[in-house]
Structures are given as structure tokens and as C-alpha cells.
Symmetry: C2
Subunit: 456 residues, 2 copies
């Protein structure tokens, strides 16, 4: 069997999925609805309309249809960088001397450098279809902003990105990639919005924050004619679009008669992990097959492993709806020392419900160990991984070493979400021995939990 | 026919070439031999042995065998990132509204970000096979150094990279990628070598130069026990290894019954262009088929279009052998304003001979126009191209527009050698309107040509 499996499994273009899979349709316990911050009542399509595109709202609220057609225009775009390869990590297996079979689905072979493009193109398409002029969004390090810029450029939409000021200044390269794709990139807080001007007046020297950038992007979308706001993670619609990752993975494995034992993904807001595990989770929910699913999060921002399953604000500014999710509190800010992404205080409501129902596991890993795994992986598999993706690598290596100890030839599949080309400052810190680990104290979490909103 | 051609043509793993093609075997006029700088006599294997690996010397001197087996160990490594896709540029064709069919062979889907890895892995393999401890090399911007670091890491070889000091300081990211792969990166000039110490004593504040870094790397290889020097372009062996690009391209086109009319590549030292055109040039040399071949070089460093076909030193320090090639003179230094690579004063002796024999064409293009083409390409095809590769894009677009004017549905194939993730400073300059063009004056070239060595 082994001999027959190539290093990289590529599906043919006509084997690519033509529908997204909506795992909510197979969930017995549906994820809890978003709540309106003023009324604490479930958000309706009408409530969401000033901010989101109509068809995306329909997807957001749809927890009954298991399959939704991928429009031909989106499939055409997917063909430019998909199917992404499912790689058999022969070299890593050899290096670890493990009987485990390791596969990874590599989503970094596109200019945005990550899986974010899968949802960006869908969101841009529906905005275009609705006849909008453009979209607004926020970005921290810039991965999502880059993906959205590419998608908007393809459909001729205007793209306004509010980029956290300190990232705008310290990470100019991603900003330039966005400009190459024609996006306007504004350091946040800015003088463009009411909330930006207010914050600048109160804190003239501020570096900005993701929470503030979200507020500016939402305000801009609501106040500009023909604009809507889009978001790259957490939302149900994003997980739907990202199911393409899992569907391709499953199709590639099925082609070679391989059944995974454990499926691993890094988890920030849950977009990649949710997309990767969706079709496999569907089988588990329908009682057809069983798999272990493992979410890997940073020990410095441990939503699943140390958070509360509660209604909380999606943004720091507390202007967005509330979601029921594993959360560290919308005021929680991970240590500045933390290098990668995965800094979000909450987690996808879908994944949160699945975790609460005992259908998946989670583990928290420390930063230095993650970079050690990243470097080990790069040296044998050739790919320089993003810090985010390297959380999954770390967990996959740990599982493979357990297999070695137990003498078990398990099949491990993990998501390699992207490349680390724009994260070399963090690698430099690691090489120079200047990287440290940080784990929030019980007292810090207690303080943050105390500010959770009253539960409905 | 069109309908059947996918966006990306991937060969199956078992369709990948098992032999490199050596175009010199089919050349009626062989490229002139390297000459010893002291005796001006052809370099023998013995002369080359202190500096290069034995098997690579054999490849360097072999102009009779058309096909050389690719060792299984190298083919295994190739499988980690090859076959590279041959992409049908449907979106670019549509944007240009041209009847031309445009294809590009994309070599950027590996962590080194370019085709350089194809030869780096071969050179590292032969060094390992010879039982060496390590290799030395120089790097400017760092593309070749990155590729070599990856290759050495895979085979457990030590890798010492002399990086031009100004690049080392101003472009820390590629340096960190090299360190991730375990290479030692030394800013050049350094105190490690005699030549480095001499230059530092004479010019304490120098920024370094590629010429100086080559001299340091060669000295280090010759003085360290168990080390040899390796080089990423210009040499015959490099063109041999890079023939994998053309062989895959040809196999992919043959699969769909497509015959190119014109094949285009950017040309610095010639490694990519030579590799891409090799098997097609072989058919032309054997009188089986005819193709147009087009080398694209920067107007600021126009070796083919304005250089002399003469014996010249391969390095600025004049310690390396002399090669007969199109050259601007080994003292020629392109304007500091020039952003991309392709800064080498000379050109592959094989390509030089083919050009002198009228078997291929060349064109020089200006920097600003190249970045305009790069941005246009990125926006429709999604890939952010390296400045070097964008020279080929510019020429391909020009040819496609000529087809539009003439109403001809020609088939254009070009080499997209790599990605521009580490070139965002140049893109920033372009976006900010601060990029300018530079063309050397006749007087400058005349001055440089006056320093060419006496011809044998």
C-alpha cells in the first residue's frame, strides 16, 4: 500500500468538490444563535443586513441544508490555486522513526499564503453579486487582509482594510502585498471614522488593537453607500466555505483507501480546523465512522482548554453581536510576546458546541516548543510553516511519537494552513534564543471572566 | 481543445523525468571551455578538483552525453515540491483580450521560492556522496543561499553562506530562512578569510559586493578540510540540473498535444532560461521542430543585447576561471536603483553560444514596465511574482498583445521562476512612485569593455 501513495496527492480538477458541506445540518445540538447586543434576542437576517451581504447572512443562519452549491465563478477561482496537495510526510515519518503514517493538507500554495483565500473569494463573490461597490475588514498581521485583497481584485471590488497601526508600521510587507492587489490599507485607529477619531483624541499615541480595527471597519461599512463588512474567521459562513479543505482531504484519502485515526488542526477562531474536520465530523455525527479530532491552541491564548463556554462579545469594543462560545473574555489580550496569530479571545460557535458535546479534544502547546517543531518540520519536509500552522505540527509530532512508543501504525492527518515568509521576525527571535513562553495565570483569567456579560 | 486544458497541468509522480537533458550534446558549436586564469589554458578536471565536487566537474565538462540519470535520492527530494505546475493563464488571456494561448511554468511553490532548488539539491547530493563535510557559497539577495540551505539540511551537510553585507543587514528575512535550515550566514566581507580581512582593512566601512563574497566562499572552500564551493547559475552543470523545468514543461504540453510557438524566460546568469528551453532547443538543434526562444534581461544589465561575446572573468575579484560569454565586463555594476536580481555581468556560456549562433533572441526591458506587468499579472493570476520572473511576464504580455493586433492565436510559454514575498521593498517603491529606470550609457559600457582581459 505504502509504495503506491505518492508524496503529494493532487485531485484532478474535475474531482474538486462542487458543494460546500454544512456540518450544522448533522448536529443534534445546533450552535446557539448570535444575540443582538442591545436586546439580547437572536439576531435576525434583518438585523444583520446593514453589516453583512444578503446571501452570506442566509448561509450564516442556515443550519439545516447539509450541502450548498459552490457557484461556478468561485469554482473557477479555486482552480487557480486548488486542489491543494495532500502530502504524505514520508521524510518526517523517517526522521521521527515512527510507524505512524502522517499526512498534511497544505493550504499555503497561494499568494495570500494561507487557507483564508477559500472564504475571501466566496465573500467577495456574494458582495459582487449583490451589486456592492466594496467591502471593509480589519486585519492584524495581514493574512486575512491579503486574501481579501486578492479576492476583491479578481472581482473588481473596492477593498478597504483597517490594519492595526503597529502591524502597519512594523510589518510593511503584507501591507505592500495588499497594495499590489489594489486594496486601500489604513492604519487603525484612523481619522476616517468616528470611533477612530474618538480613540485618537483619548489616546494620541496608541498602537491600535484588533478590537478597534473591527469597530472602524464595521462603522465604515455601515456608513458608506454600497459597502458591507466581511470577516475571516469565527462565523458559521466561514466554516462552511472552509469545508473545501476537508472535502478535498477526504476525497484524496478515499482515492487511496486511507482512513485517518486522528485529525489535527490549529485553532484560533476555528476557520481552518472547522473546515478540515467538517466532512469527517459529519460521518461521526451520523454514526457512520469514528475519528479523534484534536484542536491545538497556544498556551498563551487557551480558549478551549481554559476558557468558559458562555455568551460573549465577538469584539473587544462590544459593538458586535454576542456569540455562545469558549471564550477567555472579550477583554483578554494575549501576551505581547506571543508571536503567531491564534490570538482571538473566543472560538467558532460550531466548534464550541462540538467540543462541549465531547465530540472533539483540545490541547494547548507552548510557543518555544511550537517553533522547535516548525524548524524540525521545515528541515525535513522543506516547507517553512507559519507559526499558527506549527501548532498543529507540534501536536502531530507528539502523536506520532506516542505511536512510536506504543508501536502503533496510526494514520495522522493535520492541516498545514500556511507559510511563514512574513513571520521571520519571530523565527529570528527563536534563533537568537530570545523567545519565551507565557501562560496566563489563574488570577488573570478570573479577572477576565469577571467581565463576561450577564448570561441570557 | 481549449475546454479540455485545465488551469494547472500537473504531471503524475511517475511521469516525472528520470534523466536530465544535456543540450551541449546536440550543439554543433560547443560552448568554449573555461580557461585557467594563470595559464589561459582550458581548465582540466584536475584544475577544478580543489574547488568543485568530482561528479559535478564531470558534468561540467561533459558535452557529449545527451541524457544523464537523475539519482534516486534527488528524485525523492524533487517529489517533495515537483512536478511544478504548468499553468494555463486563462485569466491573463481574458484580461488582455488576446487570441494567444499563454502558459507559464511556475517554479515558486517551494520554500526557497524559486527554481534554484533544482540545482541546489543536486549539488548537495554529489557533495554528500563524495563524503564531504559541507559546502560554501555566496548569496546576494539570498534566493540561492536559501535553496542551498534547504538542500544541505536535507542531506545533513554543513552550509556556509557568505552574504553581501548590505543584504545581510537590510534583508534580514532571507537570512533567517537560511538559519532555519541550519546554515551559517556570514556578512561579507568578514574576518573569516584572508581576502575578507584584506578588504576590511582597506575599506573599513564597505557594504560588500557579490564579487567579494564569491572570493571569500572560494577561499573558505579551498582552505577548509572536506569542503567544496558551489554556485547557483552560469555553470553548465546548473543548466543541466535545471533542464528538469523544460522536460516537465514539454511532457505536460505533449500530454495535451500543445506545441509552443515561442518560449520566454528571464535571463540573469541563464539558469532558468537554459533549463526551460533545453529540450525544445534540442529539437531545434536536431532539426525536428522550430521554436522562437526569447531571453529577457533588464535594460540596466543588458549582457545579451549590449554585451560583448568574449572571454571574461566569472567574478569581480578575477580569481575564478574565465568563460567565453556575453559580458558587460567583470567590473560592471548595475545601478543601485535596480531592484531585482539579474545583476550578473555575464551569461551562461551555453546560452551565449546559442545566441551567437542565431538560435535564440534577446530583449531588454525597463524596470518600471516590469513592475507594471508584475502587478497586472498578480491581480489576475493571483501569484505575486518575483521581480526577476516579471521580466518574462512583461515580454510574454508584449508578445500576447502583438498576437491581438495580428489576430494570431500563437502559443506562448514562459518561465515564472519564483515569488516576490521577499521583494516587497521594491514593490513599495513602485507603489509610492519612487521607482525609476536606468540604462547604462555607451560611455559607461565602453569604459567597462576596455578592462576586458586580453583574448586568447
Amino acid at each position: 500500500m505504502d509504495k503506491e501513495i505518492p508524496y503529494k496527492i493532487y485531485l484532478e480538477e474535475d474531482e474538486m468538490p462542487k458543494q460546500w458541506y454544512n456540518v450544522r445540518a448533522d448536529m443534534k445540538h445546533k450552535p446557539a444563535p448570535l444575540l443582538h447586543p442591545a436586546t439580547m434576542q437572536p439576531m435576525t437576517a434583518k438585523d444583520l443586513r446593514p453589516v453583512f451581504c444578503d446571501e452570506l447572512i442566509a448561509q450564516e443562519l442556515n443550519d439545516t441544508d447539509a450541502y450548498l452549491d459552490i457557484p461556478a465563478e468561485i469554482r473557477d477561482f479555486y482552480k487557480m490555486y486548488r486542489p491543494s496537495p495532500l502530502v504524505r510526510a514520508y521524510c518526517l515519518e523517517k526522521k521521527l522513526d515512527t510507524p505512524a503514517h502522517i499526512y498534511y493538507k497544505f493550504e499555503g500554495s497561494n499568494t495570500s499564503g494561507s487557507h483564508k483565500l477559500n472564504s475571501a473569494i466566496a465573500q467577495a463573490y456574494y458582495a459582487k453579486k449583490q451589486g456592492l461597490k466594496g467591502v471593509t475588514t480589519e486585519t492584524g498581521a495581514g493574512q486575512w487582509g491579503t486574501a481579501l485583497s486578492m479576492a476583491c481584485s479578481y472581482f473588481g471590488l473596492d477593498c478597504k482594510v483597517y490594519m492595526v497601526k503597529i502591524s502597519y508600521e512594523q510589518k510593511p510587507f503584507r501591507r505592500e502585498v495588499m497594495r499590489t492587489y489594489g486594496a486601500s490599507v489604513t492604519p487603525s485607529p484612523s481619522m476616517d471614522t468616528k470611533i477612530g477619531r474618538k480613540i485618537l483624541a483619548e489616546h494620541p499615541g496608541t498602537n491600535g488593537s484588533l478590537g478597534c480595527a473591527i469597530s472602524e471597519a464595521v462603522e465604515a461599512a455601515a456608513s458608506l453607500d454600497g459597502y458591507r463588512y466581511v470577516l475571516g474567521s469565527v462565523l458559521n459562513q466561514v466554516m462552511l466555505h472552509q469545508s473545501i479543505i476537508g472535502l478535498e482531504t477526504k476525497a484524496a484519502l478515499d482515492k487511496y483507501g486511507v482512513t485517518p485515526d486522528i485529525i489535527i488542526g490549529c485553532a484560533g477562531g476555528g476557520s481552518n480546523l472547522g473546515g478540515l474536520i467538517s466532512p469527517f465530523m459529519g460521518e461521526k455525527l451520523r454514526g457512520e465512522k469514528d475519528y479523534r479530532f484534536l484542536a491545538v491552541e497556544p498556551a498563551s491564548c487557551p480558549s478551549f482548554t481554559r476558557g468558559k463556554f458562555a455568551y460573549d462579545f465577538c469584539d473587544t469594543g462590544m459593538v458586535c453581536p454576542l456569540a455562545k462560545m469558549y471564550t477567555l473574555g472579550s477583554n483578554f489580550i494575549p501576551s505581547a510576546n506571543h508571536a503567531g496569530g491564534l490570538r482571538y479571545h473566543g472560538m467558532s460557535p460550531v466548534l464550541s458546541q462540538l467540543y462541549a458535546d465531547g465530540l472533539m479534544e483540545a490541547v494547548a502547546v507552548e510557543q518555544t516548543a511550537v517553533f522547535e517543531a516548525a524548524e524540525q518540520f521545515a528541515r525535513v519536509e522543506g516547507i517553512l510553516p507559519a507559526p499558527e500552522s506549527s501548532h498543529a505540527i507540534k501536536a502531530a509530532i507528539d502523536e506520532a511519537l506516542k505511536c512510536k512508543e506504543a508501536g502503533e501504525a496510526k494514520t495522522i492527518v493535520f492541516g498545514l494552513t500556511g507559510t511563514g515568509y512574513f513571520d521571520m521576525y519571530a523565527y529570528e527571535k527563536f534563533h537568537d534564543g530570545k523567545m519565551t513562553d507565557y501562560i496566563p495565570t489563574e488570577a488573570e483569567l478570573k479577572e477576565s471572566f469577571s467581565k463576561l456579560p450577564p448570561q441570557p
